[in-house]
C-alpha cells in the first residue's frame, strides 16, 4: 500500500473534515437523546441519492434536501401527542430506506452500486467532494458555534431557555438542518447506514473524560479524526468497506473508554 495513492489521500482529507464537524454536532444528538432521529434522517438519504440521479443534480443536494425534509417532517410530527415519537421514527426510518432502495432499483438506466451508498466508498471521493466538505463544513461549524449557547440552553431546559429569551423553535430547526447538511457531506465516506455512528459514538466516548460540554465536543472531534484515519488505513490495508472499518475503530474507542481508568467523571 502506498500512502501517496491519490484516492487514499483524498479520502483521508475528506474523512478528517467530516469527523471535525460530526463530533461537536453529534454531541447534541446524544445530549438531547435523539440518536434515533439522526438514524432516520440518515436512512432517508438513500432516497436523496435516487433523487440526485433522477434530477441529474449532485447527490449532495439530493441527500441534503431529503434529509432536511425528513427533519422538518419529524419536527412537526413530534408536536402531536397521538403517536409516540419513537414509533414515528421507526416507521419513517424504514419506510424511507425501503423507498430509497426500490426507487434506485427501478432506475435501470443508471448503474448504481447500492453498497457504496449504504456503507461508504472511499474510492469515490473526488476533489470536488473535498471542496464541499471543507466549504460546507466551515459554514456548518460557524452556524453551530453561533448557536452553541442557545442549543445548550434548550437542551438543559426548554422553558428556562425560553423564559431567558432563547428562540427555542428556531434553534431546534437550525440544528436539524445542520444535521442534514453533515449527513449529506458524509454519505460518500461512511454511507447512510453508518453515518449516525460518527455523530454519536465519539461524543459518547468523550463524555467519560469531560466535565463541561465544550470538552466533550473537542474530545469528540479528536476521537472522530483519529478513528477516521485508522479506519481508512485499515480499509486500505485489508480491502474493507470504509464505513464499517471507521465505525469499528470508533466503537472500540467507545468500549475502551469503559476499561481505562479515570473514565468516571460526572
Amino acid at each position: 500500500m502506498s500512502l501517496l495513492d491519490d484516492f487514499f489521500i483524498r479520502a483521508i482529507i475528506a474523512g478528517i473534515g467530516i469527523a471535525i464537524i460530526a463530533g461537536p454536532l453529534g454531541c447534541f444528538i446524544v445530549w438531547r437523546r435523539m440518536s434515533y432521529l439522526g438514524d432516520t434522517m440518515a436512512h432517508s438519504s438513500l432516497l436523496g441519492v435516487a433523487l440526485g440521479f433522477l434530477l441529474g443534480v449532485d447527490l449532495l443536494f439530493g441527500v441534503f434536501a431529503i434529509a432536511a425534509l425528513m427533519a422538518l417532517l419529524l419536527f412537526f410530527f413530534q408536536k402531536q401527542k397521538q403517536i409516540a415519537s419513537d414509533a414515528i421514527l421507526g416507521t419513517l426510518s424504514h419506510a424511507s430506506l425501503a423507498l430509497g432502495i426500490i426507487v434506485i432499483s427501478l432506475m435501470t438506466w443508471v448503474r448504481i452500486d447500492i453498497n457504496s451508498y449504504l456503507f461508504g466508498d472511499i474510492l469515490s471521493v473526488e476533489m470536488s467532494d473535498i471542496a464541499w466538505i471543507y466549504g460546507g463544513g466551515f459554514v456548518v461549524m460557524a452556524v453551530l458555534l453561533k448557536n452553541w449557547k442557545s442549543l445548550l440552553a434548550i437542551t438543559v431546559d426548554q422553558d428556562l431557555a425560553k423564559a431567558e429569551g432563547i428562540a427555542v423553535t428556531r434553534t431546534h430547526l437550525t440544528y436539524l438542518i445542520l444535521i442534514a447538511a453533515v449527513i449529506a457531506l458524509a454519505i460518500k465516506i461512511i454511507g447512510v447506514l453508518l453515518v449516525t455512528s460518527l455523530l454519536i459514538v465519539p461524543a459518547t466516548a468523550s463524555r467519560r473524560y469531560s466535565h463541561t460540554p465544550e470538552h466533550v465536543a473537542i474530545g469528540a472531534a479528536i476521537l472522530g479524526v483519529v478513528s477516521v484515519i485508522l479506519g481508512l488505513m485499515a480499509s486500505m490495508e485489508f480491502d474493507l468497506p470504509s464505513g464499517p472499518a471507521i465505525v469499528l475503530i470508533v466503537v472500540s474507542f467507545f468500549f475502551s473508554s469503559f476499561l481505562l481508568p479515570g473514565g468516571n467523571r460526572s
Partner: protein, 252 residues
C-alpha cells in the same frame, strides 16, 4: 420604586389543554416589592398559570401586561437534568448569559451554595440544587422572581430556612416574588398575599384570612395546622361533640 408600581398584570386569562379547561378567567396583578404565593391542590393549574404568565404557553383569551423591560428570574418546578450532559456549577450559571466569576460567586454566597464552581451539578443535594437555581435566577438582578415550588426536595427544617432566604432576597434585591407553594402554613410567615387556585381563583388575600376562607378549607380541609393560628370559628362544638355550622338553620 413606589410600592404601587405594577410589575405584572393579567386580565381574564383562560387556557384549555386538549379539551380540559386548566385556567379559567384568571385576573391578578403583582406590585413592586410584594411576595405573592399561589397555593392549590395537585392539578389545579398552578404551574400552568406561571408558565402562562411567563408567556411560555399560548393563551386562549386574556391579556398580559408587563412593565417595560421587566427583568424576571425564573426557577422552574423541574428541570430536565441528565448527567449525559456534563455541567459544572460555573457552566450552569452562564448557560444563557455571560457573567463574571465575581458575579457568580456573589449570588452563590447570597444563597448559601457552598460547593466549588467546578463541582458537577449532579453532585449537589436536592436542597443545594434548589439554592443554585435560586442563585442562577438572581444573576439577572430580577425585579420579579418567579419560583415554582422552590422548596421541593428539601426537608421540613430546610423549607423554613429557604423561605427565610427568599424573604431576605426580596429585601436585598427589592424585588417582587411570585411563588407556588404546596403548604400555606410553612410559607405563611414569608408571604404578603396568597392566591388560592383551583383552575379559577378561589380566594385571595392575606395568608391568615385565606387559611380561614371556606373555599380554602374546602380544598385543603381544616388541617390540624390550622389550630395553631387564631381564627374565627364558623361553627361551634356541643358538649357531646356534635358540630353546628353557624350558617345553617338550627332547631334547638
Amino acid at each position: 420604586m413606589s410600592e404601587n408600581t405594577i410589575l405584572l398584570e393579567v386580565k381574564d386569562i383562560s387556557l384549555n389543554y386538549s379539551g380540559r379547561q386548566i385556567l379559567q378567567n384568571i385576573s391578578l396583578s403583582i406590585s413592586a416589592g410584594e411576595i405573592v404565593t399561589i397555593v392549590g391542590p395537585n392539578g389545579a393549574g398552578k404551574t400552568t398559570l406561571i408558565r402562562a404568565l411567563l408567556e411560555l404557553l399560548p393563551l386562549e383569551q386574556g391579556t398580559i401586561y408587563k412593565k417595560n423591560k421587566l427583568r424576571i428570574g425564573y426557577v422552574p418546578q423541574k428541570i430536565n437534568l441528565d448527567p449525559v450532559l456534563p455541567l459544572t456549577i460555573k457552566r450552569f450559571m452562564t448557560l444563557t448569559n455571560d457573567y463574571s466569576i465575581n458575579e457568580i460567586k456573589l449570588v452563590l454566597s447570597e444563597t448559601g451554595v457552598k460547593s466549588e464552581l467546578n463541582t458537577s451539578i449532579y453532585h449537589l443535594s436536592g436542597g443545594e440544587f434548589q439554592r443554585l437555581m435560586l442563585a442562577r435566577a438572581l444573576l439577572a438582578k430580577p425585579e420579579l422572581l418567579v419560583l415554582d415550588e422552590p422548596v421541593q426536595n428539601v426537608d421540613y427544617l430546610g423549607e423554613a430556612e429557604l423561605y427565610r432566604l427568599i424573604s431576605d432576597i426580596r429585601k436585598r434585591y427589592q424585588c417582587s416574588v411570585l411563588m407556588i407553594s404546596h403548604d400555606l402554613h410553612v410559607v405563611m410567615a414569608s408571604t404578603d398575599r396568597v392566591i388560592c387556585l383551583d383552575h379559577h381563583i378561589c380566594c385571595q388575600g392575606e395568608p391568615c384570612d385565606v387559611s380561614l376562607h371556606p373555599e380554602y378549607v374546602r380544598l385543603f380541609g381544616s388541617s390540624s395546622n390550622l389550630s395553631i393560628y387564631n381564627h374565627h370559628h364558623d361553627h361551634s362544638h356541643e358538649v357531646d361533640g356534635t358540630i353546628h355550622e353557624h350558617n345553617q338553620e338550627h332547631k334547638h
